[in-house]
């Protein structure tokens, strides 16, 4: 039996990369999972359901839009009956040096990466508060802790997630809901594939554990924080970075 058997989880940005690895891991531990992405991925949900023997359902959701989040989350909670785990993973990059960064590139990253955490957390808070238990895991970034030229927008959003994680942990603690963040280091995904080779090489050479991370490395940490084993951990920022932040 998996350590999340019977739990109901929602994962944003779940169609690929780290989000897909998280959804897959939670499902493999026995959780039913609602996977959110910009468009419906029925084939992916059907494949995960069949392979892992749990309910995986795909929903299209613009997580930066308040009304959309409210209506989609209402539907998900009705479909699953409840929600035990929320993983705020959805994120985009619009890298560029600040002097050349457009307003819309700043705003889009803040909306998708930070505002979404607020909206999605609010959308599950009432259900989790009523249950007196819940797990919220926010995916931040090592670049929230270290500067990264060309990522003023992304780093600001990811650092904002850390502040929100700690505040929400305090706010929900009396109701048994834990709120933690994970700060992945350099993980091999489509997103990091967009980085230039020089930056990638610079990073890889600095990783104490000697390799670029895998999405599964992050997913394993999420599964732990989502489990009963992590019931006494809240307000923490866990680096999953091969020692980059040591």
């Amino acid at each position: 039996m998996g350590k999340l058997t019977g739990k109901k989880a929602i994962v944003t940005g779940a169609s690929r990369g780290i989000g897909l690895a998280i959804a897959t891991k939670l499902a493999s531990e026995g959780a039913d999972v609602a996977i959110l992405s910009t468009s419906v991925k029925e084939d992916l949900a059907a494949k995960l359901s069949a392979e892992l023997g749990v309910q995986v359902k795909s929903y299209a959701c613009n997580v930066a839009d308040s009304e959309t989040v409210q209506s989609v989350f209402k539907q998900i909670i009705a479909d699953m009956g409840t929600v035990d785990i929320l993983v705020n993973n959805a994120g985009i990059t619009r890298d560029g040096l600040l002097m050349r960064m457009k307003d819309e590139d700043f705003d889009a990253v803040i909306a998708t990466n930070l505002r979404s955490v607020f909206l999605c957390t609010r959308a599950v808070a009432r259900t989790m508060m009523g249950k007196r238990t819940g797990r919220i895991i926010n995916i931040s970034s090592i670049n929230a802790l270290h500067g990264q030229a060309g990522q003023a927008n992304y780093a600001a959003a990811k650092a904002g997630i850390i502040g929100m994680t700690r505040s929400n942990a305090m706010e929900f603690a009396s109701r048994g809901i834990t709120v933690n963040a994970i700060a992945p280091g350099f993980i091999g995904t489509d997103m990091t594939a967009a980085m230039d080779d020089a930056t990638k090489e610079k990073y890889a050479a600095q990783i104490p554990l000697g390799r670029i991370g895998k999405p599964e490395d992050v997913a394993n940490a999420v599964a732990f924080l989502a489990s009963d084993d992590a019931c006494y951990i809240t307000g923490q920022i866990l680096g999953v970075d091969g020692g980059l932040n040591a």
Binding site: R126, M129, G130, E171, S174, R175
Partner: protein
């Protein structure tokens, strides 16, 4: 005081605060008598909004000291 509204308000309070119906009196104070903390009050206000289909602003909710205050507010809204 409107008895019907008081009964409905009492049912919401019992559900959200986990207190006994007989302990909910018009003069009961949310903090001192019913043991409600700030999160309880938020949950209670949201449940009252759903039950009575009214909007309760934070500035109104801040004035709810005892159960009778809530009943009077709902009465006025529904009048």
């Amino acid at each position: 005081m409107n008895e019907e509204i008081f009964k409905k308000v009492t049912a919401v309070i019992v559900d959200k605060l986990g207190v006994k119906a007989e302990d909910v009196k018009p003069e009961s104070e949310f903090g001192n008598d019913l043991g409600a903390d700030s999160l309880d009050r938020v949950e209670l206000v949201m449940a009252l909004e759903d039950e009575f289909e009214v909007e309760i602003l934070d500035s109104d909710a801040e004035k709810f000291a005892k159960v009778a205050d809530v009943v009077a507010f709902i009465e006025a809204k529904k009048a």
